[in-house]
């Protein structure tokens, strides 16, 4: 405990009208000035701005303040800002506390000005009481391992990996599928430029495959993450491919003998692949993989034909899952998305009518490398359709499924419509939509051109039902045309469902392994929606691409580059500051009972010679040991018993 008398300055922020519009600031300032140890209480319009920060510095120097309380927004946002202010005037940055009178007060009690003022007074009083009990702490610097783990190798993961590798740092790129490329590899063309997706993606894939700084781990998944910023210990499981990558020449001899046909995932189930297969021709690594879920059995008795056929002797049935243990400096999560399962929205007849397909299936059909080699065919008749109808917002903007907008489906539908009309001017295309959202650079122009010059028909109205026609082999789409305010019916040969984007089913598990939070939509939560969009609340873990929310290719690439730059910033510096919240033992009080040892989630506390000992590097400061200790002999720094009790006692002062 510091022996110096606390001299506290309280600085109250108006936040424009965000706080001042609800809370009577002069009254709050007047009240704050009466609190114990408070030497100065002042307000300012924007305390976080330069003049606001200068005000704190000036008063600190003038009045010799040794503690600072700022009543403003959430500490999550500006605690680091004000701690720097303290550092600038030579005060220990941990002599600082914040009252959250915006998120926790003015914004949520907007119409109860009196109650809000009373609450704000209490919050300031509690912070002042806590400030008096604060102790100076030294921020520790830890070394950062000079490498980055990138999880997911779609366009976001690929871009992030390349940026880091090009800067000269080692990257481990983990991908759960057999090839990198992600969803972008499945696309035929990209909006709004209509450039071929493969032509811009596959060169990058190839760079990844050859880059000396990238260690590519395909068919692999992250199983465990321990440690902390700069020093993560990661366990990656490499699933057996049963094909030795280096030996496989991708000659396809095994394909010819494999007797099993499996719906081809890369072609959205529109074609077939074998049990031993390569995901697609441009796959990286360009090697086969044996899918044991469908293989008849890897013994000569059951089948074993592929092994016999392989002249390169690349097939090894004895492969076992391998666990790699990596020491990692920073992690970028770029796990992408899954398409909404169209089977869920029963009224659109997906799975019931063969001519109802998803947007991704149409994409594969449009691809020259796809199952129809770019021809548009009705699945039921294998003949050219006369009318293709698009239904927008399938699974999106719908309280029953996902309330959010998936952002890419409008443009994807416009792009496909344009491709169909360019290839076959005699095929009619109708798009049923709620709103057409063409928000990106060049997107609105693309929409205009598609509508005006390419003869695509637009009907504004959510489709209520898709059913088979009673008197032909067509499909009937029913909707309300909200411009005409009347129901409309259209007969189509193919109905394309513009399925939205969802968080992958494995994301909750991965989020747990990484200790990340997810937002209400299921995607990963960024540290701040505007100012820290590539960071997470866990230091050293960054996010990129659709893992954070629906995104198109340009946005994914931009975020990937942002995440790469942020991760590099840490890795290049080689060290990073960590919060000094580790638990401290009071040896005079410790009885060596070992309850703390049993309660610690990190094995950071051990009883040695009848006294608890904390391994500082392992302790994360959660304080579970402190709550368990019967003698209050152990406590995390900055959240000590005295500090918390001071807040409680201050709050109930009048009631005593």
């Amino acid at each position: 405990m510091s022996t110096e008398q606390p001299k506290i300055g309280v600085f109250i922020c108006h936040c424009g009208s965000n706080i001042a519009g609800v809370i009577d600031i002069p009254k709050l300032v007047e009240y704050a000035a009466t609190l114990p140890h408070v030497i100065v209480a002042e307000d300012y319009r924007y305390m976080c701005s330069d003049p606001g920060q200068d005000l704190i510095k000036e008063r600190a120097r003038e009045k010799g303040l040794n503690r600072v309380v700022v009543a403003a927004c959430s500490p999550t946002l500006h605690e680091p800002t004000f701690r720097r202010v303290l550092e600038n005037v030579g005060l220990n940055p941990f002599f600082f506390d914040m009252s959250n009178i915006r998120e926790h007060c003015s914004w949520v009690h907007t119409h109860e000005e009196e109650a809000a003022l009373e609450k704000a007074k209490d919050l300031v009083k509690m912070a002042v009481a806590r400030a008096a009990e604060l102790e100076p702490l030294e921020q520790k610097e830890v070394d950062v391992k000079a490498n980055v783990l990138v999880v997911g190798a779609g366009i976001s993961g690929i871009q992030a990996a390349l940026d880091i590798a090009d800067a000269g740092y080692k990257v481990y790129l983990v991908e759960k599928e057999a090839s990198i490329g992600g969803h972008m590899a499945q696309l035929d063309k990209t909006f709004p430029t209509l450039d071929c997706s493969s032509c811009i993606l596959t060169p990058k894939m190839s760079l990844v495959g050859q880059h000396p700084n990238i260690e590519l781990l395909t068919y692999s998944e992250v199983r465990e993450v321990e440690g902390f910023v700069g020093n993560f210990k990661v366990k990656v499981e490499k699933k057996p491919k049963y094909v030795i990558e280096d030996k496989c020449t991708a000659c396809a001899d095994c394909l010819e003998v494999c007797p099993v046909n499996v719906p081809d995932e890369f072609n959205s189930g529109l074609g077939w692949r074998k049990a031993i297969y390569i995901p697609f021709a441009q796959a990286v690594p360009n090697a086969y993989v044996l899918d044991t879920d469908h293989c008849l059995g890897m013994t000569p008795i059951a089948c074993g034909k592929c092994k016999d056929a392989c002249e390169a002797e690349a097939i090894n049935y004895e492969m076992k899952p391998e666990i790699l243990e990596l020491d990692i400096g920073a992690i970028i999560v770029a796990t992408g998305f899954e398409l909404f399962d169209a089977m869920k929205q029963l009224e659109y007849g997906y799975g019931k009518y063969p001519d109802v397909m998803t947007n991704l299936e149409m994409e594969r059909m449009l691809s020259a490398a796809g199952p129809t080699e770019g021809k548009i065919l009705r699945p039921s008749t294998m003949k050219k359709p006369k009318h293709v109808a698009y239904i927008q917002c399938v699974g999106s903007r719908n309280e029953r499924y996902n309330a959010y907008c998936s952002r890419v489906c409008c443009m994807a539908a416009l792009k496909q419509a344009r491709q169909i009309r360019e290839k076959y001017p005699d095929i009619q295309v109708t798009i049923f939509y709620i709103d057409m959202r063409a928000f990106g650079k060049g997107y609105e122009e693309f929409y205009e051109t598609t509508a005006r010059e390419h003869g695509v028909t637009f009907v504004r109205g959510r489709v209520s039902e898709v059913r088979g026609s009673f008197d032909s082999d067509k499909i009937v789409v029913r909707a309300e045309d909200t411009f005409l305010a009347q129901p409309v019916e259209a007969e189509a040969d193919i109905v394309v469902l513009s399925c939205g984007i969802e968080a992958p089913k494995g994301l909750p598990d991965l989020a747990r392994v990484l200790g990340l939070q997810r937002s209400a939509d299921g995607f990963l939560l960024e540290a701040h929606p505007k100012l820290r969009p590539v960071e997470t609340n866990t230091d050293g873990i960054f996010i990129a691409g659709a893992a954070q929310g629906p995104k198109d290719i340009p946005d994914s690439v931009a975020q990937a580059k942002g995440a790469a730059a942020s991760a590099l910033g840490m890795v290049v510096a080689g060290h990073v500051k960590v919060q000094p919240y580790a638990a401290v033992v009071n040896e005079d009080l410790c009885a060596g009972c070992g309850i703390c040892e049993a309660s610690c989630p990190y094995d950071a506390v051990k009883v040695v010679d009848d006294r608890a000992q904390v391994t500082e590097a392992q302790c994360k400061g959660c304080g579970t040991c402190a709550a368990a200790c019967p003698n209050q002999a152990i406590a995390p720094q900055h959240f000590t018993m005295e500090q918390i009790i001071a807040q409680l006692d201050a709050l109930f002062q009048e009631a005593k």
């Binding site: 919050l123 304080g623 018993m641």
Partner: protein, 142 residues
């Protein structure tokens, strides 16, 4: 003090990763809820020493809310499991000493659940209003 004027005073211990951020989310979403609670930020709900709770009740808090991450989401792996066990035991103890165990409430609120934070506040304030003031405020339980 008449019953009509009486507003319960509630202390809420919120973990910084999930529930404190959930309360921030209620703020950024401008979800209105009663102004009865004061939040104390802790790193983990597992930091909440039973003594803090007892002290709050002794100081005549009308209710104590502990809010942490959902099971499996704890930033510190298992802190919230320990909280859950402690709160269950403490509720039994409160019964023994003549306090309504409903005055102590444990909720799991994620960083995304601004609505849940606001709803919890509303329902807890209503529940405490039905219970009335902390019996210690009138000289202790009978």
């Amino acid at each position: 003090m008449t019953d009509k004027d009486w507003e319960p005073k509630i202390v809420c211990f919120a973990c910084r990763w999930c529930s404190y951020a959930g309360a921030d989310m209620a703020g950024t979403s401008r979800i209105q809820y009663p102004a009865n609670a004061r939040v104390i930020r802790v790193n983990c709900s597992g930091r909440v020493d039973p003594q803090f709770i007892l002290r709050a009740l002794k100081l005549k808090a009308d209710g104590v809310l502990i809010a942490g991450c959902h099971f499996g989401d704890c930033h510190y792996i298992s802190g919230n499991y320990q909280t859950s066990r402690r709160v269950a035991l403490l509720k039994e103890y409160l019964k023994e000493i003549g306090l309504e165990p409903e005055r102590l409430r444990l909720e799991w609120i994620s960083a995304a659940e601004g609505h849940k934070f606001a709803d919890t506040m509303k329902s807890f304030v209503n529940e405490i209003k039905l219970l009335g003031p902390n019996p210690l405020a009138n000289g202790g339980p009978e």
